[in-house]
Amino acid sequence: MPLISGKVVDEQGRPVAGARVFISRSPGPVPDTALMTGEDGSFTLSAPAAGEYEITSATDEQSAKANVDVSGEHHEVELRVK
């Protein structure tokens, strides 16, 4: 199962704990859950199929999106909320 990992950070690059991270666009159906980042802002999500994904991170005040082209086993992305 391909994975998308990364960190949610603020505009100063500091990790954001407790941000919700989820797949907002995908090549096929995905479970409608959301992961919450740990103290270090990190997350790892499963990408069920190869293709284009959009990952969204949200806190109550800020959000960020990133596109990931899943073609291999592991992909890294940074979500800088603002």
């Binding site: 199962m1 391909p2 994975l3 919700r20 991270v21 989820f22 797949i23 907002s24 666009r25 995908s26 090549p27 096929g28 159906p29 995905v30 479970p31 409608d32 859950t33 959301a34 992961l35 919450m36 740990g38 790892t44 499963s46 293709g51 284009e52 969204t56 949200a58 806190t59 109550d60 959000s63």
Partner: protein, 319 residues
């Protein structure tokens, strides 16, 4: 080796069994002080403050000159008259859980039925990763949710798969407010097809509490319906999406768009965190679940259909 019965129930606690008879719908309960329950609109959508249901009617009078142009070339979609030009469509094969304009409505009063019978879930998986989801009461101590909220399957992450460690259940949560308190559960149920094979067609499960929180909030009924009946149904969904302020409950309603023997599809807007939400219809004063929301998809979102086998498990799990 005996073939696996897909809806054979499985649990991290002692097991129960399922039957195949078509059952009558189980009715829910509005719980104490039902005066706050609002009747649904005629089309079956809940009457949620601030929610406007888009509908189209034909107004042609037979024999009248309706003034249609002779050529359709250059005419725009009527939807633009109300909603403006459509958004850029996603590339082929790209799925979005928000389908078209986002017209979800926040539930401002979560202390009334049925919204208080819907719970925010805080889930801790085996690898200590934290997740959010949604569940709904079917009895004083039992909530229904997606199978992947109680048992993680095929994640690809070392140590994450399997029964989750715990779920904190917060019924009627409204931001930081927990009007009915909360309870933590470590007792979960699901189907064999989900836990053994990761079969998304059987993605449903239950959370069992030791505290009867359902007595304070009421419960949903659940029923098995024909394809024709479901396709004529307005489906309501309310849950706790991660793209909205933390712990707020959001509602949307639309007609069921398609069904197959095991799933119900709808273009109701959802986002990560709404896994497990009830997909329900209104019959008189009863709120009857027809599916368990589970997946965001390309042209429609979907839920696990309440079939006879699913119904039997829900009955067996209900305490």
């Amino acid at each position: 080796m005996q073939p696996i019965e897909p809806d054979a129930p499985v649990t991290n606690e002692p097991t129960l069994s399922a039957t195949d008879s078509v059952p009558p719908a189980q009715r829910g309960s509005e719980g104490p002080d039902p005066a706050g329950t609002k009747p649904a609109a005629e089309d079956g959508a809940e009457a949620v403050e601030g929610y406007e249901r888009f509908s189209m009617e034909t107004m042609a009078t037979p024999g009248a000159d309706l003034g249609f142009p002779e050529s359709l070339e250059g005419l725009r979609d009527i939807g633009e008259a109300s909603f403006g030009p459509p958004p850029e469509p996603p590339p082929p094969g790209v799925a979005e859980a928000i389908l078209g304009p986002d017209d979800r409505t926040k539930i401002t009063n979560t202390t009334v039925y049925p919204y208080r019978a819907i719970a925010s879930l805080l889930i801790v998986a085996r690898d200590n990763s934290a997740w959010i989801g949604t569940g709904w009461f079917i009895g004083p101590k039992t909530l229904i949710t997606a199978g992947h909220c109680v048992f993680i399957k095929n994640s690809g992450v070392p140590g994450r798969d399997g029964w989750v460690k715990s779920i904190k259940v917060i019924p009627g949560r409204n931001g930081a407010t927990m009007p009915f308190g909360s309870a933590v559960s470590t007792n979960f149920k699901s189907s064999t097809a989900w836990t053994v094979n990761g079969n998304a067609n059987h993605d449903y499960g239950a959370i069992v509490l030791t505290t009867p929180l359902g007595n304070a909030v009421g419960s949903f009924g659940f029923g098995v319906y024909s394809d024709a009946d479901l396709l004529a149904t307005t489906a309501n969904i309310s849950g706790y999406p991660g793209d909205k302020p933390s712990g707020t409950q959001w509602f949307h309603a639309r007609k069921v768009t398609s069904v197959n023997p095991l799933k119900v599809f709808y273009d109701i807007d959802t986002a990560g965190g709404q896994s497990g939400a009830p997909v329900w219809r209104v019959i008189g004063n009863d709120r009857i679940a027809i599916a368990v929301h589970a997946y965001g998809g390309s042209t429609a979102n979907s839920g696990t259909r309440i079939t006879a086998a699913v119904h039997a498990n829900l009955v067996a799990w209900k305490v």
